[in-house]
Amino acid sequence: MVSLLDIIGPVMVGPSSSHTAGACRLGLLARGLVGGTPQTALLELHGSFARTGEGHGTDKALVAGLLGFRPDDERIRTALEIAEGEGLEYKFEKTTISDESHPNTVRATVVCGPRRAVMVGSSLGAGRVLVTEIDGFPVDITGSFYSIVILAADVKGSIARVTRILSDHDINIATLKLTRKQRGGDAFIVIECDDSPGEEVRDAIRSLAWVRWAMRLDKVSGG
């Protein structure tokens, strides 16, 4: 459903809603996967991101997102210099992820302390984004909701336990998706929520014995 505020918006640093605002949102989501500003980030740019990214500030916008800046933050312009001060070591490479990948796609490998994550995401136009892969698991995260991503052993009743924690904390679920590479292997659970889950929700999920890790992703799009 198209909203008026999708059309009159977003408020953003130019010049391109797909190459700048969308790139910043992808950076924010990658940051969320490691829970803070990464110490190192490898950003592999595909397609138009690789070809015209520098002219559109895609590099600055991605790094700005990793630093936690939102698309309307004027610090995007100087994000590369700020990153040095914050101890974020970034590296850009041009790549072809696959022939089917969206023209504006990035693969981000980010490390923060003990956490390492590999995210593939695309900027679809008008600032909208889609994360399609996390640590090799296929996902579809738009950033229009608060999300919780969980890597867990594939055990019976896992969904029931997690959703119970959410309902106990009065969090409404918008979408829920579980994927796994094979039966009995690890399962990857993405839950998009209408309400922002607090740290206590994340910690309650992390305390489940079969959960390997759980992270909260901020809502990066929409009003």
Binding site: G9, M12, V13, P15, A21, G55
Partner: protein, 292 residues
């Protein structure tokens, strides 16, 4: 939101309301947000639009590549043209200003996109300033513009990569024409004709930016987009009607976009980008950006 402008117009007529009122009512229902809350978001957008207009007029904005910048400041001081000292002249300045800010990584409102971000603020704030129109009525106009843009998104496209420049500055001109017609006292029906009149004149417009950058000709297409909007407003308020219904004009814009060769959809493979000078500029400027 409405999927046809005709539905919004007949709703507004039946209920004795403006397009902005029926759009805000439906948005409130769709999104579960209070109208006052939606208006507050639009008020923030207006604030940012005005900030971009002001920033762009100072003239020290330069894009990363150096291809554009400084032209709003040139025009603002010029009295050489036939439109000097008219609201029309002022609106052209504002459109250049906002788009120069965008190219220089300043803060703008994508309306509907960053590439077409200059048209709507130029037309609405320029007319508001010339006619002493209150912010509340400009916010109403932003809601009407959002309605028109939502219908275009639904029926056609708002992306240069999908539909060429007709889907970006063309859509922006259509949104500006319809919303400003209502802001100046036009009826919902007249706003519909203004939208159609603006859009018909950008049908087929290709997206051919030098080096693939949102700079050249985007800055100038925003100024001419604002000019097209003003022509459409002038005609619609005189009760001139466009015989092809507005939703059909929008549909055909989408169809032309789908049939448009990929070279003309933001890939810098055709049009101005592929001229000998366009290619040379792209090579030089992209090299300059890399060197920093």
């Amino acid at each position: 939101m409405y999927k046809a402008l005709a539905d919004a117009i007949s709703d507004a007529e039946a209920r004795g309301k403006t397009l902005s009122m029926v759009a805000l009512d439906l948005e409130s229902q769709d999104q579960g947000r209070a109208v006052a809350d939606i208006r507050a978001s639009l008020a923030r957008a207006l604030h940012v639009m005005r900030g971009a207009v002001d920033a762009g007029m100072t003239g020290d904005m330069r894009s990363n590549s150096g291809l554009v910048g400084g032209d709003a400041a040139k025009l603002v001081n010029s009295t050489a043209g036939p439109l000097a000292e008219t609201p029309f002249h002022d609106i052209l300045v504002r459109a250049l200003a906002v788009q120069e800010v965008n190219s220089a990584m300043g803060v703008i409102v994508a309306a509907p996109t960053a590439g077409g971000a200059g048209v709507l603020p130029a037309v609405l704030t320029g007319l508001a300033s010339a006619r002493g129109i209150s912010d509340e009525r400009v916010i109403d106009a932003l809601a009407t513009a959002g309605l028109i843009g939502a219908v275009i998104a639904e029926r056609a496209s708002l992306s240069g990569a999908e539909g060429g420049c007709q889907a970006e500055t063309g859509a922006a001109a259509a949104m500006a024409a319809g919303s400003a017609t209502e802001m100046l006292g036009g009826s919902p029906k007249q706003a519909g004709h203004a939208t159609a009149l603006a859009m018909q004149s950008t049908l087929g417009l290709v997206c051919d930016p030098i080096g693939g950058l949102v700079e050249l000709p985007c800055v100038f297409r925003n100024a001419t987009g604002a000019a097209i909007a003003l022509a459409a407003i002038e005609m619609a308020l005189a009760d001139i009607e466009f015989a092809i219904p507005v939703d059909e004009v929008i549909d055909v814009m989408g169809q032309i976009g789908r049939e448009m060769d990929v070279r003309y959809r933001e890939t810098a493979g055709g049009g101005l980008a592929a001229t000998p000078t366009g290619r040379r500029l792209a090579k030089e400027r992209l090299y300059q950006i890399k060197r920093g």
